[in-house]
């Protein structure tokens, strides 16, 4: 068990900049997930922590040791690869015990630990088999076993579930989370799948184009994205983002399909925070509710698609250039037929604002206080 610290770590390949000056602090026992689209630098970051790739600049600490120049084998880490990387000429037993044999652990001890790991991962019956004779899920478990048997300082996992089918993936996801909690080893997990990130991580690092976009707990990430990239990357379907402009005189935010009445101080704050008047207003698909009558916060559009998922229906609406998606209970879906013009209300506290140009979130001071004050004073 150990902490890990990355200071201004950069990796430059001959033809491109893979990781750009990232800082990261990983607490002891934490399950940290690096997530982002392919090519965002998450795997390179992991490989630098493993020592398989040397950082162009910056420092990497594991525990209290600066490991920039330490070889992978002396970093006391274990890694699970996307394609498992089991040694094909060794049995499961050989694969599990390889690291211990290299370290000259006593035979009795090796036997004890192999038994323990095999029992934990349900591999006891397979110890004499070779990787070629195992199913995908079994190979995956051997790869995990090879990591936990070491009792290392850090677990590194590079998309370990992406070669499994959907059902097995959900199962193994839970298993890895359980295992990590039991052993309590600090874990860094790389994935491109935001669902995996949300369900497994205690902290999530969203990366894009070699830079960290946001580091936060899953819920915070979901409800308070730091910029439009995170807002659209996390959540399926992603957060709706609609263009609007501030109408200070009318005390409103207006845009195609957007009509939001806001207290003037709040609007002024928004206007001064945003570098230019137009801005993006965002809300999650589940935060919109069908509206009868009127509301202080209205969104309107005509239905262009309705996707029935059984437990919910995703309705896509269009208004001018803008599109947004709302999540409706199946019972309510009938009220949003194809071509209908439908009105939705969103709780103003659930609205998020972003700068049109930089994409950064605009945090307005204490939005809920302002709103309650506004409601009380309104006739």
């Amino acid at each position: 068990m150990a902490t890990a610290l990355l200071e201004k770590v950069t990796k430059r390949f001959p033809d491109h900049l893979a990781v750009d000056q990232i800082d990261l602090n990983i607490a002891e026992g934490e399950f940290l997930v690096l997530v982002g689209p392919s090519g965002c630098g998450k795997s390179t970051t992991l490989r630098m922590i493993a020592g398989l790739e040397r950082a162009t600049s910056g420092n990497i600490w594991i525990g209290n040791e600066l490991v920039n120049l330490v070889s992978p084998r002396d970093r006391d880490i274990a890694m699970v690869f996307q394609n498992y990387a089991l040694y094909p000429h060794m049995t499961v037993l050989g694969n599990l015990s390889y690291a211990l044999r290299l370290r000259g652990v006593r035979l009795v001890e090796i036997e004890r630990r192999v038994k323990q790991a095999a029992a934990a991962l349900d591999l006891s019956e397979l110890l004499r088999r070779r990787p070629a004779q195992l199913s995908g899920g079994q190979r995956q478990r051997v790869a995990l076993g090879r990591a936990i048997i070491r009792q290392p300082k850090l677990f590194l996992m590079d998309e370990p579930l992406s070669n499994l089918d959907a059902k097995l993936r959900v199962q193994t996801r839970a298993e890895i989370t359980r295992l990590q909690r039991e052993i309590g080893v600090t874990t860094i997990y790389v994935t491109h799948d935001q669902t995996e990130a949300m369900t497994m991580g205690s902290q999530i690092v969203v990366m894009n184009e070699g830079r960290i976009q946001q580091v936060d707990a899953p819920r915070q990430l979901y409800h308070h994205p730091a910029n439009t990239f995170v807002a659209q990357f996390v959540g399926t379907p992603p957060m709706n983002l609609l263009n609007c402009h501030i109408d200070l005189d009318g005390g409103m935010l207006r845009g195609d399909g957007v009509r939001v009445s806001f207290p003037v101080p709040l609007l002024t704050a928004l206007a001064s925070a945003s570098t230019d008047r137009p801005l993006l207003v965002g809300f999650r698909p589940e935060d919109a509710a069908l509206l009868n009558g009127s509301s202080e916060c209205e969104f309107e559009g005509s239905v262009i698609a309705a996707e029935e998922l059984g437990h919910e229906t995703l309705v896509t609406l269009e208004n001018g250039e803008q599109r947004f998606i709302v999540r409706l209970a199946p019972a309510l879906a009938d009220r949003a037929q194809l071509g209908d013009r439908v009105l939705f209300a969103v709780d103003p506290e659930k609205l998020r604002f972003f700068d049109t140009q930089t994409g950064a979130a605009i945090s307005v001071f204490d939005i809920s206080d302002q709103l309650s004050h506004f409601r009380e004073t309104r006739p």
């Binding site: 493993a50 020592g51 398989l52 070889s71 992978p72 084998r73 970093r75 880490i77 274990a78 890694m79 690869f81 394609n83 498992y84 990387a85 089991l86 040694y87 094909p88 000429h89 390889y98 690291a99 290299l102 370290r103 070779r130 990787p131 070629a132 004779q133 195992l134 995908g136 190979r139 995956q140 090879r146 070491r150 070669n163 499994l164």
Partner: protein, 292 residues
């Protein structure tokens, strides 16, 4: 209903017959190709045990004659230096195979796994060495070897073969190393092995088929080689088998039965090596290591 059943049955019979015919045709073709490949060897053995008087009979007899003789084999070892030449060839070929495979593997591993300046150029150079006609290099090499006192010695001949075969071995083995997923080595490095430890514990065991076929290739090339042996070796006691075989062709008579007997003996080791290593040539050893 019954009629339909009957047509179905007929269909099935026709299908079975056509499948059987296809197999038969394929089998026949394979047999034909095999016999074309094997016939020269068969003829060699049959000729070697035919009494000398019947050697040039016309029309030739395909089957060995009833009064076959094995005396050429005995005479060979008694009168010529064949035993000595076999030993010489064995020493040269086994050493060449071993050394070429070893150094070839080292070079191939570096070319396959490390990124360094001049890597692509070195790779091209490996192929370039194969583009010169051997005779073009033979003369300058002769001069150099004469200065170094390496003429007329088996060590010198081995060195000459190595100069040609190490690049070939490296090129062959690089393809094998390239096929081994690099993650296996990374996993081993993280598990606690050094680079060299990983090479010997993971990479080389997984490339056994490649090592075996490379070794075999080098062995057979140096076993059969004639040009360099002819140029560099003088003394009959230093001859390799290819020189020995050629020496049977006399100015006035060529004892064909003995030539054929010697050829049969010379072919044997190459065939034995092939048989011994063929089980390693089966690919698919890396199956199952990566991916689901």
């Amino acid at each position: 209903m019954r009629r339909r059943d009957e047509t179905l049955a007929v269909d099935q019979i026709v299908r079975r017959i056509s499948i059987a015919a296809g197999r038969l045709a394929l089998g026949g073709l394979i047999l034909l190709l095999c016999s074309v490949a094997i016939f020269p060897f068969y003829w060699m053995v049959v000729t070697s045990i035919r009494p000398s008087a019947q050697l040039f009979e016309f029309p030739p007899k395909l089957l060995p004659s009833a009064d076959s003789v094995f005396s050429p084999y005995v005479t060979l070892f008694e009168t010529s230096g064949l035993g000595r030449w076999l030993l010489n060839s064995a020493a040269v070929s086994l050493t060449t195979g071993l050394v070429a495979t070893f150094f070839g593997a080292m070079a191939a591993y570096a070319l396959s796994r490390f990124r360094f300046r001049g890597r692509r150029t070195s790779e091209m150079m490996l192929l370039l060495t194969q583009m010169f006609p051997a005779i073009l290099l033979a003369l300058p090499m002769y001069v150099v070897f004469a200065r170094l006192n390496l003429l007329d010695s088996l060590a010198g001949l081995t060195l000459a073969y190595l100069a040609f075969l190490i690049p070939v071995a490296a090129a062959l083995l690089k393809a094998f190393f390239d096929a081994i997923p690099v993650e296996l080595e990374e996993a081993s490095l993280i598990d606690g092995a050094s680079r060299l430890g990983t090479l010997f514990r993971i990479t080389l065991p997984l490339s056994l088929p490649g090592l075996a076929s490379t070794y075999m290739f080098c062995f057979i090339i140096s076993w059969d080689e004639f040009l360099f042996a002819r140029m560099f070796i003088r003394q009959p006691e230093n001859w390799t088998v290819s020189l020995g075989l050629a020496s049977f062709k006399g100015e006035f008579v060529t004892p064909w039965d003995q030539v054929m007997a010697a050829a049969a003996i010379v072919t044997l080791p190459a065939a034995l090596i092939f048989l011994a290593l063929q089980s390693y040539l089966v690919r698919g050893l890396t199956a199952g290591g990566v991916k689901g």
